[in-house]
């Protein structure tokens, strides 16, 4: 390969045009991300109150501080909230890991498929999105419940006599989670693997590496950015997920999303719910920052 050409200096005269392009994006971020986050933080610092809205803002008339950090202290000290956080992170971690284990071979197979077959295969990965999310979760209920398809088939075949408890277990929850989030893992993995240089794998084989060794020493390390992206794209939404665990999972598994929902809609404790949301946001920003750091180092 030739030496890379020296990078061209960016003409400064382009600045107004760049601003015109960036302005809508920044406005969007400010209006729909930054402003709601600030409102959320404000509610989290407020006191619970029986009224409409059901909280006192942290700053009273004239800007006097009347807020409290009690909600954050409660989340950090009360085992109920703390455990729901840890359980959510564990569920998100296991879900993301399972999605990687299943999604990597899928992405690699698509990337290695003949060019004409890749688009249909990618469409097949996205096919579940054509059906509504709740309908897909509902389908799992139909498959897994005691009188459901799976138990029915097993009973007809004589494998079991009494129905297996499948629904409302961790297994059912993970099946539903992986099913819902798998495409988010496959797509970034495919994007990375499709760009890989087949000559590198050939060079490794040529130097005596068996196929498994080629994969471990060349293919896998070079796809690390895609692995990290896939992991985070599943981990982050999975950590806040509450519909799937609620509908398929065991009743005792209170995840943070479910707890937040309960505080907000059942207990009407808006400040505590807001504090939970803020903490979840902060917890999830950490791995994103870490990923960005890693990606910057790769270059």
């Amino acid at each position: 390969m030739r030496d890379p050409a020296p990078s061209l200096p960016v003409p400064r005269r382009l600045a107004p045009r760049r601003l015109a392009i960036l302005l809508p994006a920044w406005a969007w971020l400010a209006l729909f991300v930054a402003a709601p986050a600030l409102v959320l933080l404000g509610i989290a610092l407020g006191h619970y109150d029986t009224g409409v809205p059901p909280f006192q803002p942290p700053f009273g008339p004239g800007g006097a501080w009347q807020g409290t950090f009690a909600n954050f202290v409660a989340i950090a000290t009360d085992p109920f909230y703390r455990d729901s956080f840890l359980r959510s992170l564990l569920v998100a971690f296991v879900t993301a890991s399972l999605c990687l284990l299943i999604g990597y071979p899928m992405a690699l197979a698509i990337a290695r498929a003949p060019e004409a077959r890749r688009t249909p295969l990618l469409l097949a990965v996205l096919l579940p999105f054509w059906t509504g999310f709740l309908i897909r979760v509902g389908a799992w209920i139909g498959l897994l419940r005691d009188e459901g398809w799976l138990n029915g088939v097993l009973r007809v075949l004589g494998v079991i006599e009494a129905p297996l408890p499948l629904l409302y277990t961790s297994l059912a929850m993970y099946v539903g989670m992986v099913h819902a989030y798998l495409p988010f893992a496959v797509l970034p993995l495919y994007a990375t693997l499709a760009r890989r240089d087949p000559a590198l794998e050939e060079a490794a084989a040529d130097l005596g590496a068996r196929p498994a060794v080629v994969f471990l020493t060349v293919t896998l390390p070079l796809s690390a950015p895609g692995v990290a992206a896939a992991f985070l794209l599943v981990f982050i939404p999975a950590a806040g997920e509450f519909v799937i665990p609620d509908l398929l999972g065991p009743p005792e598994a209170q995840l943070v999303g479910r707890v937040l929902w309960g505080e907000f809609f059942q207990n009407r404790d808006w400040p505590l719910a807001a504090a939970l949301a803020v903490v979840l946001l902060v917890v999830l920003i950490l791995p994103i920052r870490l990923f960005q750091r890693l990606e910057a180092e790769q270059r």
Partner: protein, 354 residues
Amino acid sequence: MLRAEGVAKRFGATMALDGLDLEIAPGEFFALLGGSGSGKTTLLRLIAGFETPDAGRLLLEGRDLVPLPPHARPVTMMFQSYALFPHLTVSDNVAYGLRRAGVPREERRRRVAEALALVRLEGFGHRRPHQLSGGQRQRVALARSLVVRPRLLLLDEPLGALDASLREATGFELRTLQRATGAAFVMVTHDQTEAMALADRIGVLERGRLVQVGPPTEVYERPATRFVAGFLGGANLLSGVVRPDGGVDCAEVGCVLRAAVPVTAHPAGAAVTLALRPERIRMQAEGAQPPEETNAARGTVAEVAFRGELSTALVRFDGGATLRVSRPSAEGAPERGAQVTLTWPAEALTVLAD
């Protein structure tokens, strides 16, 4: 050492290799020369094991290579793109093959250092490939291939990605390394000067067939076909009709061509084509006494191009032919439009097979 017997490979409707036979001697530097689509890279990839032949056998020291996967073949390849592992340091790149072979740590370290010294890259071991220049990367790729002591090294356009200024020096280095290691080198190139400068023997590939194999001087001086004559150094092609006395009537130039060996393989009256190297032709201005030569013809200088050491003139004949004539610039170039007499010795003419 390496023998290819009737090797054929087809991609869809195109025949990449069409029943190719070839024998490479131990320690030989062999160049496969051909244009794009001639099948030269396909042959290299078949030997390395990245493709499977549709027919034929590939024998390395008597052992059939075809059933062996790439990692089990005692052959290494230097890729045109070099294919250095971007996530590994130069040392780890070079050590990759030794690690796979289970060479112990101490010996590995010693051999990596030796290999880097061989390509004059001592002190570069801790760098990453992207921190190296094109020439340095090429030498890392070479060290990585040679460190495992292959009996046969395949090189895919080894100088193709280098700047013109680096090519000659790198070519000489390649030749020196080949002699030092004693491994057989099989190089693929589309550059005839590169092939002639480096190789002991050249094989010219055209549409999946080897049309001529031989030492560079032989292939250059005695091209077998029109394609070889045109591909190597752009020979002049003269067509004519065989005379009963073994000469060839060439109406294009307006003279009787006399080759060193009378044309007897073709019957009298048959149409033949002969190759004539531009640098074998001497040029005499009108009025000067031309040297006594077997072949002589008179024409008009149509164009003159100065090319440094050599000047090339296009000489047009009344019969319609235009001959390229290359003479040392020191002899002095003729004027455009001048009448000249061209002469060339009998052994400069080669009768082509097609």
